[in-house]
Amino acid sequence: MTLALHGVGYRYAGATRPSLLDVDLVLPHGEVVGLVGASEAGKTTLCLVASGLAPRAIGGQIRGRVTLDDEDVDAWPMHRLSQRIGIGFQNPANQLSQVTESVFEEVAFGPMNLGLPRDEVLERTWSAVDALRIGPLVERDPRRLSGGQQQLVAIAGLLALGPDHLVLDEPTAQLDPAGTRLVADAIARLATGGASILVAEHKTDLLLDVAARVIAVDAGWIVLDGPAAEVLADPAIEVLGVAPPAAVRLTREAERGGVPAAARARLAEALAK
């Protein structure tokens, strides 16, 4: 269940230059991969291409190959691909169907669209509700929830489609600290449970908690790809316009301020905890 991009380039419809250039990326099953980069660096484009929405839903020109377990998904219609790769966006409200009156129906919307047997729709919906711990919300109107709660509902709606991979494009970008914590905890739990997630984020602290690996993009290229702790501590990400996690900044400041080595070691130990 490996999702892979082989030499993928993508240009939006009407754009004069490509937004993604010659990207090679392998997303193995069961790994949480963080995606960082400045605004306009290509994070959203990479998410759209990896999920298949570009070019299926938004047009544009793609070259290279996107494969799932070495099978080319080029000819797959979106409704087939969405059962293997789910994608979530920044704005939680825009991901709601706007036609359901309860969180339960909202989560069930995807499986219902697939025409699955009713019992399977129910089982998948309850499982996704449990996975995101939104049981107490099932009767609520999804449009009346907080942004963080809506994002959980949106992610549950994706999980109910039974995908192998989740692609989350800045899921906490429009959330307040409480909402961010809600979504970050949910992603961390999914990660612990072995989910395969590609998550684009500006909040590198969150990535340090949940991602095993981090990729940095710049001007449509992948410029860094490695273990999360290494990439997020690499001074190069600041040059790319990405703020390092607080732990990294604190360690650097300690070094710069001449804190003795023994104290720095204790600090590193405390941060690791």
Partner: protein
């Protein structure tokens, strides 16, 4: 929400894992619990019937039997009278005044207001028009007060209406409160920045532009993301969707619907052939 049935919850299944009890929750009264298509048929037949039957007595009897009695039974009579009245008021007033004073060929003068003459013929016709307008607004309001839009959409989808058409119909109805809310937010934001929305009519009209434009443009800008989110949730898959519940229906109700439609067809035929005086 009107009366519904939980379909096919697996026998012996853990209750918590089946269809949640709040889906398709039964309506508060027997009329609410009728199938939405039955109520829609009654509203349609009443509205069209009142126009076709003509006169004063016909629409009045129709309103009494098909609007007031069901509203009384459903416990919504007061709200119905208020809402139906408000709905009909603007058009009723203008139609009444125009017909009372400007009915062509009116000879029996009732009173004069300057050069304008109110005639008995005009009054008779104005009352007939009023009866029809009230019948239409009453029928529509009764349906609105006793039926949840989602119930009708689910019912139509079960009967074979395209899921996309059902979605568009449902989304259109559901979008209204969201648009109103967005307009209120934008109005507040623009007023906070000094926009004047009070005062003379001209000033109010001028104040509309910076409100209407963001409401419409904002909605259009969101369309792409919403479309992508729908695509990512299997919405474009051809074929039927699974429905978790559907409103109740029964053979007697279906029979009543056909009888109502047959009655309306008969009435139209009688009017068309001139057998009904009208």
């Amino acid at each position: 929400m009107a009366g519904g049935e939980r379909l096919n919850v697996g026998a012996g299944q853990d209750r918590g894992r089946g269809v949640p009890g709040f889906l398709g929750r039964r309506g508060p009264g027997r009329y609410h619990r009728l199938n939405p298509l039955t109520k829609a048929t009654l509203a349609t037949v009443t509205a069209i019937g009142a126009v076709v039957v003509g006169g004063l007595l016909g629409p009045a009897l129709l309103v009494a039997a098909a609007v007031l009695l069901p509203a009384l039974a459903a416990g919504v009579l007061r709200r119905l009278l208020l809402l139906a009245g408000l709905l009909a008021l603007p058009i009723a007033i203008s139609a009444f005044v125009v017909n009372l004073f400007f009915f062509p060929g009116g000879a029996d003068v009732l009173f004069r207001v300057g050069p304008i003459v109110a005639t008995a013929e005009g009054l008779g016709f104005a009352l007939e028009i009023l009866a029809r307008i009230l019948a239409i607004s009453g029928a529509v309001t009764l349906f609105y007060l006793t039926t949840h839009p989602a119930d009708l959409v689910v019912d139509l989808e079960r009967r074979g209406v395209s899921p996309r058409l059902a979605f568009v119909a449902n989304a259109s109805v559901q979008a209204v409160p969201a648009m109103v809310e967005r307009a209120a937010q934008i109005t507040a934001a623009q007023r906070a920045r000094g926009l004047d929305t009070e005062g003379s009519i001209w000033r109010r009209v001028r104040g509309l532009v910076p409100i209407v434009a963001p409401v419409i443009l904002g909605s259009i800008a969101e369309v792409e993301e919403r479309t992508m989110a729908l695509e990512a949730r299997g919405f474009t898959r051809p074929g039927r969707r699974t429905l978790l519940w559907a409103p109740r229906d029964s053979v007697p109700e279906a029979t009543v619907r056909w009888l109502m439609l047959a009655g309306l067809a008969g009435l139209v035929a009688l009017r068309a052939t001139g057998a009904w005086p009208g």
